[in-house]
Amino acid sequence: MWNDKMTIPEYQTPELRRKNLRLVWLLVGFALFIFFTSFPFWTGLFRLVGDQAAG
């Protein structure tokens, strides 16, 4: 399926690959954090703004 003509893996030294993957997991974690915290965080913020409007 994949072959060297397509991916030229020689430019991905093990060190660069580790560095890239470390950043990927950091960013994936960040995106998941935003996704999961969006539920309670936004409900709370919305209530805060609502209370302010009512008050």
């Binding site: 994949w2 030229i8 950043l23």
Partner: protein, 531 residues
Amino acid sequence: MSTTTLTHDEAHHHDAPHGWRRWLFSTNHKDIGTLYLIFALTMLFLGGASAMLIRLELFQPGIQLLEPDLYNNLVTNHALIMIFGAVMPAAAGLANWMIPMMIGAPDMALPRMNNLSFWILPAAATMLLLSFIVPFFPGGGTQINTGWTLYPPLSTQVGMSMDFLIFAIHLLGISSVLASINIIVTLLNMRAPGMTLMKMPIFCWSWLVTAFLLILVVPVLAGGVTMLLFDRHFGTSFFDAAGGGDPVLFQHLFWFFGHPEVYILLLPSIGVLSHVIPTFSRKPLFGYHSMVGAMLAVATIGMVVWAHHQYTIGMSLGAVTYFMIGTIIISIPVGLMIFNFIATMWRGSMTFETPMLFAVAIVLMFTFGGLSGVMLAVVPADMQYQDSMFVVAHFHYVLLPGAVFGLFAGVFYWLPKWTGHMYDERLGKLFFWINVIGFNITFFPQHFLGLAGMPRRIVDYNVMFTEFNVVSSIGAMIFGLSHLLLLYIIIKTIRGGKKAGARSWEGAKGLEWELDSPPAFHTWTVAPQIK
């Protein structure tokens, strides 16, 4: 920009793989960029067809062609297809093609994830189109008549087509986040030695900011539509007042994504202009550092002003004042970008090839759209303008020049690099004039319609609005059909034409112009040294 020493150029002229496998399994940034651009062009025509149907219906008062729910579904589809199907993939196509060549990298950092990011898109587009088609079948439920904002409680009452749409949005979001992660990793880890962040081309900066914005806001939209899905099927009451929830919560979630989304659409085009204008002015970009700062400022402030889309929901005076002031403050960094563009042109040896024509038109028309945006940002005024055709005119003046025309400028600018052929300049200019005149005939009268009180998202209207609607619809037909000329120009350029040199434009600067036109299948396999 920096100067370069080419220690080794594109020496590895591997043959490109052939047949369908080349495209389905591609991990080559140029091929995937091409796939993104073809996908975006296809969706541009689909979204454009829905827009032309909308304008055909509005040509006359009364109901001519479309049932009200079908009309509203077309409005919904037009927005979603254009934003998620056309503009974002087109910008991603430019990013895929240009970023590795601009920073001296052999490919994107994660080539296989790049393949996945693209191939999720056709699946998502299929789901999106199914959401439109399903209601035509027995038992298919109602049309999605909510508009692209999907506000509950209406969106909790729509039939199964809404579920298709929610899953389409999830897929589109996953694709965007994966592509963004890839772009960030590529830009931070794969730059050629010596290319510091502040030597990076502005187009790359624009995408770095855009990619971070995407990662910050797309998960919130995903959260919002997931809650919507739970409300529809799993008995939750996030947005159901009867169960203790509130539909306005969805508006906050949606616009926390939706407003930065405007900048997600705009910034890559600003990046394109930052290359086009210096090239055809034969001067370096005025204010590189301030341009980077302005993009960061736009992204940061743009994250915290979302509720200006919701002034009429009944927020406190303090809250609306904050959102109003924050929104108006954004005009400072945006104005700075515009002044930088004008200062770049100032006393330059300007020529007006098609990309530059688009660039000049963008500076004029995007500024105009920005000014009507300031009008809408003012709370008491917005109470009058909201949900009127004035809003439609405003955001089309922002998004068409600011995003779409910027992408057109980019396509014409880099088409010689991609294909190895110069496009037909005469046809390019013809396309520009028909396109821009058609655009203005379509959307300029909509300001007057809105100010006179014509609501948007309404299939029928009072006869007093007829004249401007006739003009707008005629403009829309001219504007819509002009894109067939664009398609013809692109196909003609791919098939042949005057040979383009490595540096296709006299004033072009940057690593990408050191490569052949078209570039080899693999480029920068040995990184250039940046001084």
